[in-house]
Symmetry: C2
Subunit: 353 residues, 2 copies
Amino acid sequence: MAPPVSKAVRATVASLAERAGVATSTVSRALRNDPRISAEVRQRIIALAAEVGYTPNVLARTLVGGNSGLVGLVLGPIENPFYAELMQMVVARAAARGWRLMLLHAGPGPIEEATAEALLQYRVDGCLITSAELSSRAAAICAANKVPLVMINRVAWEHGSAVSCDNQAAGALLADLLIRAGHRRLAVVTGFATTSTSTERAEGFSRRVAEAGLPPPLCIGGENSHARGFAAGMQLAALPAAERPEAVMAVSDILAMGVMDALREAGVSVPGEISVVGVDGVMPARRAPYYLTTVSQPLEAMVERGFDLLAARMRDEPREEEVVLLRGSLTIGRSARLHPDDLAGNGQNGPEA
Amino acid sequence: MAPPVSKAVRATVASLAERAGVATSTVSRALRNDPRISAEVRQRIIALAAEVGYTPNVLARTLVGGNSGLVGLVLGPIENPFYAELMQMVVARAAARGWRLMLLHAGPGPIEEATAEALLQYRVDGCLITSAELSSRAAAICAANKVPLVMINRVAWEHGSAVSCDNQAAGALLADLLIRAGHRRLAVVTGFATTSTSTERAEGFSRRVAEAGLPPPLCIGGENSHARGFAAGMQLAALPAAERPEAVMAVSDILAMGVMDALREAGVSVPGEISVVGVDGVMPARRAPYYLTTVSQPLEAMVERGFDLLAARMRDEPREEEVVLLRGSLTIGRSARLHPDDLAGNGQNGPEA
DNA sequence: TTGAAAGCGCTACCAA
DNA sequence: TTGGTAGCGCTTTCAA
């Protein structure tokens, strides 16, 4: 084994061409399986490349006009396990497609302008966004420079496509479930009023409640965090038993977990005295002590469709900016008293699951 | 061929030079504040660049020999909130240093070789690793190509530097705490036997127990997950009360949470009948229903020191590969019965915190 | 089927 | 203080 000395001098098409006694263009073609290279020469060059451990310089390749293979990724606050799980899925599927991820942002708050610049500086092929807080200025930068944008778990605004769960349907599904179980006094714990996921889920829920002729649900919350869910739970627990809702839908699992933690800490039994359901289907909510009944988002499908949209727009396909809505699936847990017929749901959140 | 939709034609040093009536080299220097450019010309060029929305092409800049500004990031399984929190910190600190992150891996299992190749293909300046499972082949690739490697939360092996919490000390600290509280029968719930974090914490704990003349702690576990912690908790709950440990240290918070969930589900009170402590200091463990007593890792300091090490090695400073050990801080919660003197700890994990 | 040469956008070196 | 020019590593005409 040859001991590598100082700055590892990496092989290039030129060095390979020289050693193989051919032109650089021949090396370039052979390495990318261009059909008009004789099998003999191709084999020789490929073998040589492997021997010297040649790695193509993607930067140079991109410079001459190719794709960078880079996809920007903007994540929301990771306190919410949903984003963590989404990220993991994105990483897995990106690798499967041979795309590399540039992690631009993770956390609360808007993405800085300097960060958005990176999209251009590195000639990123496209960008995946899971937080609404890409500043409009940053969005404008992308639009002006034709960087395809796809949002996951958010409906798109001016520019870009989006894939999202059918949040209205999810809210309606849960409303039906709770109403069928006989619950009459209902409540909704909401997230940020500015995010489509929160408002749509609440809307779908409330509409169904209205259609059932029940009084409108009590609405509390206003932020998508465990802490806010906890506060909401305490609020509910403080209500006189006669006024307290019999069932509550939190617009996200993290909120639902907070609600459950607060209720139980306050001595209110879940689901004994109050039923709690959520939306998202995150891992921690599947386990003790929650065993949450929820609508699980089809994470893998969402990410795949998001990448499909991105790929289409990267190919400059003249398709409309589109919004793909995927249906979530009901996961029955033990956090809500349900109608016996509903206890045999698709997914199960319980100790045996 | 179909006419390709015009990609936005971006400004370049050449186009700026032409419009400004100067040479490209002058533009290049002006834009990077080279001192030997007259203020007048510099201003004019900078204004022009701003006017046309010029963005430098980092790829080209890197090609001529500069740094890519790219740092590779390898994460462990995100089921564990510790990795999610670590990631968020890494993103924040990287942005502050003007570095871009290339997210190579997130999840369990080893990093694929194809992924490791990206480090070379994109001329990444360095790589941050938080999972031990960078395959040795991938590590060899980095070593051979002089890509600086820094591990966080793991001790380094052959190649690269590392920054980690003083895990032995953390284990010892918790042992002292529990022993001082009067606990005599102790247990340890371990993670993977192959990760330094798990073994070191268990070692530090066990050594202190031995020094106190107590019988060696019961050891169960073997995997760093909530599920395994839950299983361990069930095992403990099934023990006859006379044999059951009075206190248990889990080597991570996620394990501790699993243990607590299982014990409580089995009707064993925590901390009433058994005390539980963990290590890491993750967010969810700070909240209801855990309020975990734990040793919190100094996340920000760890990331900062990790970046410092990376920066030093990127500058080719001839320093030794080093291991930086940072001390964690005790966070007192309500998951363990403690000596009254210890209840006034540094951090607090409680509803009022 | 292969080669020669012209760049991609940028920086660095050497002159002026 | 500025300009010209030679590449960085790669792909891609255009010729042979």
